[in-house]
Symmetry: C2
Subunit: 433 residues, 2 copies
Amino acid sequence: MKQINVGVLGFGTVGAGVVRLLVENRDILRSKVGADLHLKYVADIDTETDRGIALGDGVLISDAHKMLDDPETDIIVEMIGGEGIAKEFILKAIRNGKHVVTANKALIAGHGNEIVEAARQHGVDFAYEASVGGCMPIIKSVRESLVGNRIHAMTGILNGTCNYILTKITEEGSTFEDALREAQAEGFAEADPTLDVEGGDTAHKLAILNALAYGMRINLKDIYVEGITRITPLDIAFAAEFGYKVKLLAISKNRGDAVEARIHPTMIPLNNPLSNVGGSLNAVTISADAVGDMMLYGHGAGMMPTGSAVVGDIADIARNIMTGATGRIPVLSYQPEAIREVPVLPVDEIETHYYFRFAAADRPGVLSKISGILGDLGISIASVHQKGRKTEGAVPIVMLTHIAREADVRKALTEIRNLNIVCKEPVLIRIEQ
Amino acid sequence: MKQINVGVLGFGTVGAGVVRLLVENRDILRSKVGADLHLKYVADIDTETDRGIALGDGVLISDAHKMLDDPETDIIVEMIGGEGIAKEFILKAIRNGKHVVTANKALIAGHGNEIVEAARQHGVDFAYEASVGGCMPIIKSVRESLVGNRIHAMTGILNGTCNYILTKITEEGSTFEDALREAQAEGFAEADPTLDVEGGDTAHKLAILNALAYGMRINLKDIYVEGITRITPLDIAFAAEFGYKVKLLAISKNRGDAVEARIHPTMIPLNNPLSNVGGSLNAVTISADAVGDMMLYGHGAGMMPTGSAVVGDIADIARNIMTGATGRIPVLSYQPEAIREVPVLPVDEIETHYYFRFAAADRPGVLSKISGILGDLGISIASVHQKGRKTEGAVPIVMLTHIAREADVRKALTEIRNLNIVCKEPVLIRIEQ
């Protein structure tokens, strides 16, 4: 049986998941792939800690270059993360003619165009299913299953930390700060949660999906990103009253010559299947001309789910090696010559429904002034709820709008803010129906 | 640009969906696949009806053998259905060295082992993503994405007709007969709905999934099949009172040396994501060692969703042709030599929770006799509801059990039936927690 040699860079949690699957499920992989996916090297600066996985002599090494320079290693699995040494190692592996598998969304979102071009020049495969949606086969679905479709839109819950925190706030009425602390205690959030809770990680993933779905160069910098740090139990409670849940969504829409791409907390109705995706789970809905709406749902992160996606990529590459079919599918879904520069629309140009909460001064005429400004800017109010409960000297006025243009909404909020009739920064949450 | 010639057998609804995608999305397919998927022939005995798709001169033919014998046609798409002429044409295409794509679950479930062996002998690809779950990439997910997993179980809503009917009964309190008539009127059910409503179609699909997931030969005949024709609004209303919905589920469980495989109406709790899959939609949950639980959700049938899956298969095969990688993935997921005869357990050996409804005679001691028989057979009752409302001279007694063995349950129901204290056949619906 043919042997394909695999080297894993980084023996942290996710690296250990890959190693465990390659070791423990080696027999089942052989019976499916028809080759032996042999774990030749695992490189980590820490070669002492016991990860509970028995490795043969000489497999665990501290010098990554030993595997990168080894002519017998066919596939390099980068599990280090970040945009520093990981990028350097990946580019060296590619230059040395090795196929590369990674889960590193930050790296692909930031430097993917360069890496993909390097892989093309050196005739190697570069695979990254685990970078978006963990074990869910979102990249394979977009690149392969939906190949005959024109994709209209994608909507995803792509960050388990944020979904865990929002679920806690929704179900237990916790504040953001308390929910974050709990998420950290239970291992669902990092010590520095910035990349997750500010939406950056979700943006990395959407940048990758956009390229695959719309045939555009990877473009991270133009995606509008708003995280969940300002979400309060009060707004989530109001959302529930209106029949909505609040989720951090990645939303992209194909608008022909441009793409709408944004990450923000979003109210979605309870009959939207994404509203039932709780805890740290992930899900993505894809709308396309032939399939209509389709959804994938599963664990978006974690040692074994991520390991599963990485091993799926290893097997795909192994099958290409065995049949001489490297480069069988273009890395970014479209043939390189078909990839275009598609602009991402400024957020000002999006049109959607809005939820506003104003902390209004408790005196006559306030509601009329607010609604006057909205009306002057063509923002039509679908419903208003002014509740009696005065908190911190102000009355909460909640409004839901019909479809409005973001630029008008921003202008209106600035004017309302300047009136000195609202006591705090107005709250704005976008609604997707 | 390389041209891959495609011939479509059968220009009915689904065949027309494939043709439409190949024609209308030809440019996007080119920009992704890097080849021209050229529709060379469409064969149908009806060459007169206008399907609203413009085909070139000489493309629509009535003689299928013209494309089967044409040395330039690379891929044959069988969209005729059934186990008669479709099988004959597929085997001829394979013998002539052509790759084959089909959506024909009945044929694969009944004759798949033979067809797969023929494809192997003749070195051609045989693809059938559209046979299970319509546009959902369930076959690709099991064969490729989950390749590193040991699959523990699969649970699916795999028949849109049944799901549509059960949704109608649930939401509108219709009888089965009325809901079926509505489904027929709206095009969700065939004039002869037997294969759908008796569970046969769902069994075809589960037989295919079982082979892929567990490395077994396709085995349709041993799957336990019970349809939805006896489901009443009363039982669905009771289910709702207990917090359950009733769905026709395909359930399979890997029990090591054997497989549990059954199709039957099933009560599932509202927090099970499958319970929210309404109308004609399909969904499948897969449980596996690395991914945990994962779900796919989408349109399981219909012209364009099915067309999308077929075109995905055509593109996969085209990519294999272009890179010389035919046979890159074994048709049934496992290498032929790794496929085993895995027995399907008799339904008597399953263990699950049960819902019973007895139409009990309205006299003293009935409940004690029923519960006595259940107790003697080791069937432990979780809850009993005896409602006052007497209908047709009988009182409904509803019971939910703890985990019990099917053989014991059947024995108990026979004994209860023989007591002459129940006026009608007891109702049994299995519950999955």
